[in-house]
């Protein structure tokens, strides 16, 4: 059987590896190289050493954006995973144990489809739609629901603008994670639930003692994915926010700074430096998450 092993492996790997090297690894090398230049995006490239990083250090907007990224990084996964887990649990196990099968709450099949809808919409469309939801005047959906006196400025209010964007990110992400967790829960043998139920465990107990431990691997992956999504957030901020990242930088994030420095401010070198920072942040985050959440896997 060893015969033909290498052609098999090479056949499978050649194309993905070539694509990965061309579009990811090579691009990283360029980004690292460009971060040490003062390139404007046009014309000759001048090396400036670490000057970009020095000016990053004293750039208020950078620190502001970084802070926003961190806020998203903490809140987005926690809230999304929490809500998605509860929904997935209700859809799969919440109906209790009957007739030899665990089942979801009534109508769970329909809910499952409905929850997935946001995932089908492009983020850009979601951003535009929620722009209307959060419209600051009386035409806004939310302001329409509120009494006139307590109308909010939403995205135009620097104090809550980032929260608005976080809410949309969560709304959009939940559907996917509900499906992901549902799939994970589907693979948990129903005998376990059955046994626990016979022993008189409540639903809440089932959730914490059985579902979560057996789903830990999936949750871990979800955490990393959501963390990376929190480092991005570009489309929503770019389309929804006031004055792109405003008001007054209140919603600015690193990815938006990269985009604006590259395409609008002609500071490709600076943008690349930001890219390098983002690279290390993302890497650190992924490594930390995987390490911190490492637990003994429950063997089934």
């Amino acid at each position: 059987m060893r015969h033909g092993k290498y052609p098999f492996i090479i056949g499978f790997l050649a194309v993905p590896v070539a694509l990965y090297v061309t579009f990811v690894v090579a691009a990283y090398f360029q980004t690292f190289r460009l971060s040490l230049t003062g390139w404007s995006g046009l014309g000759p490239i001048k090396n400036v050493g670490f000057a970009n990083f020095v000016s990053l250090w004293s750039d208020d907007l950078f620190w502001k954006s970084l802070r926003h990224n961190l806020v998203l990084l903490i809140l987005l996964p926690i809230i999304t995973i929490f809500v998605a887990l509860i929904i997935a649990f209700l859809l799969n196990v919440g109906g209790g144990f009957r007739g030899g099968l665990t089942r979801g709450v009534w109508g769970s099949k329909a809910y499952r489809i409905i929850f997935f809808f946001p995932q089908l919409l492009a983020l850009a469309i979601i951003a535009v739609i929620f722009g209307r939801v959060f419209a600051p005047d009386q035409s806004g959906l939310l302001n329409g629901l509120l009494p006139t006196k307590s109308a909010q400025l939403w995205l135009a209010d620097g104090h809550i603008a980032l929260a608005c964007i976080l809410a949309v990110l969560i709304w959009q992400a939940i559907g996917f994670y509900v499906v992901l967790f549902s799939a994970g829960m589907g693979s948990i043998p129903s005998e376990i639930y059955e046994a626990a139920a016979l022993d008189g465990a409540t639903r809440i107990r089932l959730f914490f003692r059985i579902t979560i431990p057996l789903l830990w691997g999936t949750i871990q992956v979800a955490w990393v994915y959501l963390g990376i999504a929190a480092f991005d957030a570009f489309p929503l901020v770019n389309i929804m926010s006031v004055d792109r990242g405003g008001p007054d930088g209140a919603t600015s994030v690193l990815s938006l700074m990269i985009y604006r420095n590259t395409f609008e401010l002609s500071h490709v070198g600076y943008a690349s430096a930001l890219g390098v920072v983002l690279f290390f942040l993302t890497l650190t985050f992924a490594a930390l998450t995987l390490r911190v959440t490492r637990r003994d896997t429950v063997e089934l």
Binding site: F23, V24, A27, Y28, Q30, T31, L34, W39, S40, G41, L42, G43, P44, I45, V48, A51, L123, A124, F134, A135, P136, D137, A151, L153, W154, L155, A156, G158, V224, I228, A229, F231, D232, F234, P235, N238, I239, V242, D243, R244, G246, P247, D248, G249, S255, I258, T262, F263, E264, L265, S266, V268, A271, S272, G275, V276, L278, F279, T282, L283
Partner: protein, 478 residues
């Protein structure tokens, strides 16, 4: 200098970043992917098309070679290029094919091609996604247009191209002493209102600040919002309104000193006085919720007579053509004078050439690109442009005596009344994007977020000082 928005089209970029992130950890390399192949700037230009210079062919184009153009598809549309300019060009040069394309996002489409060494020959660098013209010039990617301006006009016999233009046109496209860009569309700025609405209430457009305040109070009583602009994406309309007030109050030289980054230029008392006046006005006569609205939403409100005054340029009428009801008639009035002792008279207005067109210096056929611009500067082409877009051009008097639309007539009347008192305005927004950015946030703070004139001055002066100190930014003078 470009005020006409395309649709918000950051989507392709968005998809890219998101996909990258979804694959895992990959948001960053997109930077260099999109800036494409790195710096192939020293391209040999000896294989560029060239013909013999004759009286009939003053720019010496090769009559057989194609010319590639790319037009920004925004408020002005593209019909002027496809239906007016290209046919005119091809009437004279039937064998030089015009390779045409259009885009709503200039920099994402054209910048990678410039870096790859194969740019289109003539580029309409406009819209909210335009390339930084200063950086293009500094990188040697823009063709020196001196030959074009010295060539004879296409259809005005006995005149050089430069003699057919509105004064200030060439200066506006001049970087460090040489002309590299042609600002083609001529825009007059002022306060726009509905002439019919004003007639109905017998309101007269204000000349002085006191009149402006009194009228705004009346408008407010009538249940209409007196004034507003789209803070979410078009706060630079308000920057222009403020800068116009500053120039009228203290003279155009203040704007020049600001552009030239002179020390303390923003601390000029006129800046503070104008900012104070507008800030106080903003407290009373506008809606702070406008901070979250886009220019299109505000303009729609005006078309519905929910908003009285809107600071804008003369492209407004065309941009709103679809949404303007029959009962609405655009008219425009100069920015009211702040004091009786303003340096400039009440009729003074800000008018400037906008929409940047330039020729790529490292394309295949820069001569052809210049010839295309010469065709655009023909009187015939200029009139065609004005008819299609309801915007004036920099070709002086090309649209005189032709009635096209009430808003255009009002703009033309205002321009005539201003006589010599027309000032170009400021260029720092095009020269130094960082200052442009800061001015947008600072004006929003002043008008909608309860900011003060002092804060505005401090912020702008700090931004200017920062640009001045940054040796990596190419500086310009006017």
């Amino acid at each position: 200098m470009t005020e006409i928005f395309g649709k918000p089209a950051e989507l392709d970029r968005r998809t890219l970043l998101r996909r990258a992130a979804a694959v895992g950890l990959l948001a960053t390399p997109a930077v260099s992917m999109l800036s494409a192949c790195v710096g192939s700037s020293s391209k040999d230009t000896s294989n560029q098309s060239k013909g013999t210079v004759t009286a009939d062919n003053p720019l010496g184009i090769d009559a057989k070679k194609p010319t590639e153009i790319i037009i920004f598809n925004g408020g002005l549309g593209t019909a002027y290029a496809t239906d007016v300019d290209t046919p005119l060009y091809n009437k004279k040069w039937p064998d030089s094919k015009i390779v045409y394309s259009q885009t709503e996002t200039v920099s994402t489409v054209v910048q990678p091609r410039i870096n790859a060494g194969s740019p289109p020959d003539m580029i309409d660098n406009s819209g909210s996604n335009l390339m930084d013209m200063g950086a293009l010039v500094a990188a040697g990617q823009a063709q020196d247009l001196t030959d074009l301006f010295n060539a004879p006009s296409w259809d005005i016999t006995g005149k050089k191209v430069s003699d057919t233009l509105v004064p200030g046109t060439i200066e506006q496209g001049t970087y460090s002493g040489k002309p590299y860009a042609l600002n083609y569309s001529y825009t007059v700025y002022g306060l726009w209102y509905d002439a019919k609405l004003f007639a109905k209430h017998s309101w007269t457009p204000p000349k002085t600040w006191a009149d402006f305040l009194a009228l705004s109070e009346k408008i407010k009583q009538a249940g209409i919002m007196p004034f507003g602009y789209g803070g979410a994406n078009a706060s630079y309309y308000m920057v222009r309104a403020l800068m116009t007030s500053i120039a009228k109050l203290g003279g155009e030289d203040i704007l020049k000193s600001i552009d030239n980054l002179e020390d303390g230029a923003w601390q000029n008392p006129a800046v503070k006085q104008a900012a104070e006046a507008w800030g106080a006005y903003g407290q009373k006569y506008t809606n702070k919720a406008f901070l979250g609205l886009r220019h299109t939403e505000i303009q729609l409100q005006q078309d519905q007579d929910k908003l009285a005054f809107y600071p804008c340029g003369s492209w407004l009428e065309n941009e709103q053509a679809k949404d303007t009801p029959k009962t609405f008639e655009y008219a425009v009035t100069p920015m009211p004078s702040l004091t009786a002792s303003d340096k400039l008279p009440p009729e003074a207005i800000n008018a400037a050439a906008g929409e940047i067109y330039f020729v790529a210096s490292k394309g295949k056929n820069p001569r052809g690109g210049m010839e295309y611009l010469r065709a655009m500067l023909a009187k015939e082409a200029a009139l065609g442009f004005t008819k299609l877009t309801k915007s004036l051009t920099v070709v002086a008097g090309a649209a005189d005596g032709v009635t096209i639309s009430p808003g255009l007539t009002a703009a033309n009347t205002m321009l005539t009344a201003a006589g010599q008192n027309v000032f170009v305005g400021y260029l720092f927004d095009a020269w130094y994007k960082a200052m442009d950015d800061e001015s947008r946030s600072a004006i929003n703070e002043l008008m909608y977020q309860g900011g003060t004139a002092d804060k505005f001055v401090t912020r702008m002066q700090a931004a200017a000082d920062k640009v001045k100190k940054d040796s990596s930014i190419t500086k310009f003078k006017r």
